[in-house]
């Protein structure tokens, strides 16, 4: 039943968004595709942190893996259909996630944050170290074109938006089902109390690695989409700033909530672009107007955290309070507040 409900919701959302993409201007389509890419990456992260209780500051690095994988595949296998390229790029990133995840399963809290932080800092430099393959600072072109059956005059940005929406919806449906499956329950169990979970017979390490792989795979797909949208995979896009941006998007949206991942991604893309337009139209100097979005983003983050510790989705739930269906989430949210104080600290790091 749940599966059916998720698929139906996604289908309705899909039809609405597809139609919307045909009505919006090319630039809005471009932004929509960008948002979709972030939604995929943030959704993976919010599951990792909010459901399995592990933290990662390296989501941006996994996006880089996905983007570079896409660029390399398109370079060598230009004839592959785009869905195959995206799937292979996702699998490649999942593999990278497995390697890091196995190492990371032994760590928790700030130590895990440290390892993933290292990843975010170090990975972009790999592109410089292997200049001939990865193109150095300049990066690699991601040469994804509109498929032939749509016709030659089909706008590239609309196709990118469609692709992004389709991928994001598939990921959201899969994640929503995963969260409500036995695996999701087990993740919640280890998040709330590892010792109790292992006493109950759960293989904690294996579950943690699995969560890490799922999250990395999402980042990989997000990165692949991001590469397709911006037509480039370059180290400048996948800096520590991006990883922290993704983390804040997950937190602002509401940890552990897929709807929250959408809110967070919307803010991540729209707030800076709106504010830099406002700043430049008010005649601020270029140096000042380029710092405004970052400053404002910080303010939004502080405000949301003070007013709604549960993020935007948490606030919505509270506002819609009694009318909202009392699903499994309120209970887990309650438990999170009551028990796992170390978990709260993690979210702050």
């Amino acid at each position: 039943m749940t599966l059916l409900r998720h698929v139906l919701t996604a289908l309705v959302a899909g039809v609405v968004l597809f139609l919307l993409a045909t009505r919006l201007s090319a630039y809005r389509d471009y932004q929509m595709a960008e948002i979709a890419a972030y939604v995929v990456a943030v959704a993976g992260l919010t599951v990792l942190i909010g459901i399995s209780g592990q933290i990662s500051i390296g989501q941006g690095a996994f996006m880089a893996v996905g983007a570079y994988a896409t660029a390399l595949i398109l370079q060598h296998q230009a004839a592959w259909p785009i869905w195959l390229v995206l799937i292979v790029a996702t699998l490649a990133t999942a593999l990278a996630g497995a390697i890091v995840g196995i190492a990371a399963a032994r760590l928790r809290g700030p130590y895990l944050a440290g390892v993933t932080l290292m990843l975010a800092v170090a990975l972009p430099s790999v592109a410089e170290a292997y200049q001939s393959v990865l193109g150095g600072d300049q990066g690699l072109p991601v040469a994804a074109t509109v498929p032939g059956f749509l016709g030659v005059s089909f706008p590239l940005t609309r196709w990118q938006a469609w692709l992004g929406i389709a991928a994001a919806l598939v990921v959201l449906v899969l994640l929503a089902n995963l969260m409500r499956s036995g695996i999701g329950r087990n993740w919640r169990a280890i998040r709330d109390d590892e010792v109790a979970a292992s006493l109950a017979g759960l293989n904690v390490a294996r579950l943690k690695v699995l969560a890490f792989i799922v999250s990395a795979a999402c980042a990989g797909l997000g990165g692949a989409l991001f590469g397709v949208v911006t037509t480039i995979a370059s180290p400048g896009a996948f800096t520590l700033t991006l990883s922290i941006g993704l983390l804040t998007a997950a937190v602002i949206g509401g940890l552990g909530s897929l709807a929250g991942a959408i809110w967070g991604s919307l803010l991540l893309v729209l707030v800076p672009s709106y504010l830099s337009n406002v700043a430049s139209s008010h005649g601020l100097s270029s140096a000042a107007s380029s710092s405004v979005p970052i400053a404002a983003y910080g303010l939004v983050l502080i405000a949301v955290m003070l007013a709604f510790p549960g993020g935007i989705q948490g606030a919505l739930r509270r506002l819609l309070g009694p009318t909202a269906p009392a699903a499994t989430t309120p209970l887990s949210a309650l438990r999170r507040h009551a028990s796992a104080s170390d978990h709260k600290e993690e979210s702050k790091t």
Partner: protein, 444 residues
């Protein structure tokens, strides 16, 4: 959005029709030449009163020092043109956005300029790695991509990128001219090369390799623009015993090269390509970086004696009509900016754009601008003619080698031109540069 756009177009078209009718009624006797044709919204970004163009520029970040003056200087020239009648009466609106010299940000701001702001053309987009990220997009959208602020030889690809045009002396030619100078004036010396590890530096090194004997080059040290820790490279140059160091670097890295050398008591003869040698920018950077490291240096004395090249008349040549024109506009519109090579560059490239726009006609489509440049432009701000043709999208083809003395470049030799192949010789170009028009604006 679509609706208002259509309404806007309809009203503009309506006005245009009325104006044409009026013109037809009024001038039944006189011949209605093309110059009296009403101004129409002939292309995206062009209305009856305005031409909107866009650009991506590093206004903050590692490439910003010096380069952040270029777009304001271009804008100053456009304001001058606007104040003196515009282009066939239309005013130029120049919208340049900050990409921080980061290729991904470049794609984002260029998408905004083309898709949201509907610019007519991307003008003077700055940087090799940055602009490479958007050139395919601009060409697939058929947006004129004129006068890229980078000397990458890659902009000259009329068959793959018909809408892209270079402007400044390309790095291969620049490398050949500098290499040729070093070969004749520092014969037998050990030569080291320091270069930015992308198409910018690699093209420059290619030009050097065409001219310099391989046995004289004792070290080639690349740097990445994102990593300012270049100590190891400088130490390697010193260890190889390089007496002359030829540098293809942006200004910040030229300054770092010199300061790292000072720290190692290593002061080879520096030969720096024009993009990284502006004395004013360098002096400021040298002092700022030294201060950060807790030292004090005299920036301008450290720039003394650097050998470089230029495809413009030197700023020290105050009798040159172009220098006079740009000094006048500088004082009137952007007096706060230092009058340096970057300002000269910004105004120069803006002049070329105005030349091309006048040639493109009263109501140009995007293709008209491309055709106008493909048809060639008369020599103006550069010391050599433009190379533009349907099969060549390079701008200038040569310049002179000079040395920095008291903050300005003093010529060490004649203006030289060359080709981009290994075999094309470096030859002297003796035809004098034409004078600037007294109005300061190219004639239509």
């Amino acid at each position: 959005m679509n609706g208002t756009h259509r309404k806007g177009l309809a009203s503009v078209a309506g006005i245009a029709v009325l104006a044409m009718l009026a013109a037809a009624c009024g001038s039944s006797g006189s011949s209605s030449s093309s110059s009296s044709k009403a101004l129409t919204a002939s292309a995206p970004g062009i209305t009856s009163t305005q031409i909107t163009i866009g650009s991506h520029q590093p206004l903050t970040g590692v490439a910003a020092p010096g380069y952040d003056e270029i777009a304001p200087a271009s804008n100053a020239y456009f304001q001058y043109v606007n104040a003196h009648g515009g282009i066939y009466g239309r005013k130029i609106v120049y919208k340049y956005l900050n990409d921080q010299y980061d290729p991904t940000l470049t794609t984002s701001v260029v998408h905004q300029l083309v898709l949201q702001d509907n610019v007519y053309a991307i003008f003077d987009g700055l940087g090799t790695p940055t602009h490479l990220a958007v050139a395919p997009f601009l060409n697939s959208e058929k947006v004129p991509d004129v006068f890229v602020a980078s000397g990458c030889e890659c902009w000259n690809s009329p068959s793959t990128w018909p809408y892209t045009f270079g402007w400044q002396l390309d790095y291969v030619r620049e490398g050949k001219i500098l290499g040729n100078y070093v070969k004749t004036h520092f014969a037998g010396k050990k030569i080291g090369v320091f270069y930015q590890n992308d198409e910018f530096g690699q093209d420059g090194v290619k030009g050097l390799d065409y001219e310099l004997p391989a046995k004289d080059i004792v070290a080639k040290e690349p740097y990445a623009a994102t990593n300012i820790a270049i100590g190891p490279q400088v130490a390697a140059l010193k260890a190889a015993g390089a007496q002359v160091v030829i540098s293809f670097s942006v200004p910040a890295f030229t300054a770092l090269l010199e300061l790292n050398g000072l720290a190692l008591k290593y002061t080879p003869q520096l030969v720096v390509s024009s993009v990284g040698s502006d004395p004013t920018t360098l002096a400021g950077l040298l002092e700022a970086f030294a201060k950060k490291g807790g030292a004090t240096v005299n920036g301008s004395s450290l720039t003394q004696g650097i050998i470089t090249d230029s495809y413009f008349p030197s700023l020290g040549d105050t009798s040159n009509s172009w220098i006079q024109l740009f000094t006048k506009i500088h004082q009137q519109y952007v007096p706060k900016l230092p009058l340096d090579f970057n300002v000269l560059y910004g105004m120069g490239v803006a002049y070329t754009f105005v030349q091309a726009m006048f040639k493109a006609g009263r109501n140009p489509t995007r293709q008209d601008l491309v055709n106008a440049i493909n048809g060639g432009l008369p020599q103006a701000v550069g010391l050599t003619p433009y190379a533009y043709s349907a099969t060549n999208h390079n701008g200038f083809t040569g310049g002179f080698v000079g040395v920095i003395k008291n903050g300005v470049e003093v010529a060490l030799g004649p203006v030289q031109t060359t080709g981009t192949s290994a075999t094309s010789p470096v030859t002297t170009y003796s035809t004098p540069q034409p004078a600037a028009p007294s109005s300061g604006i190219p004639s239509p």
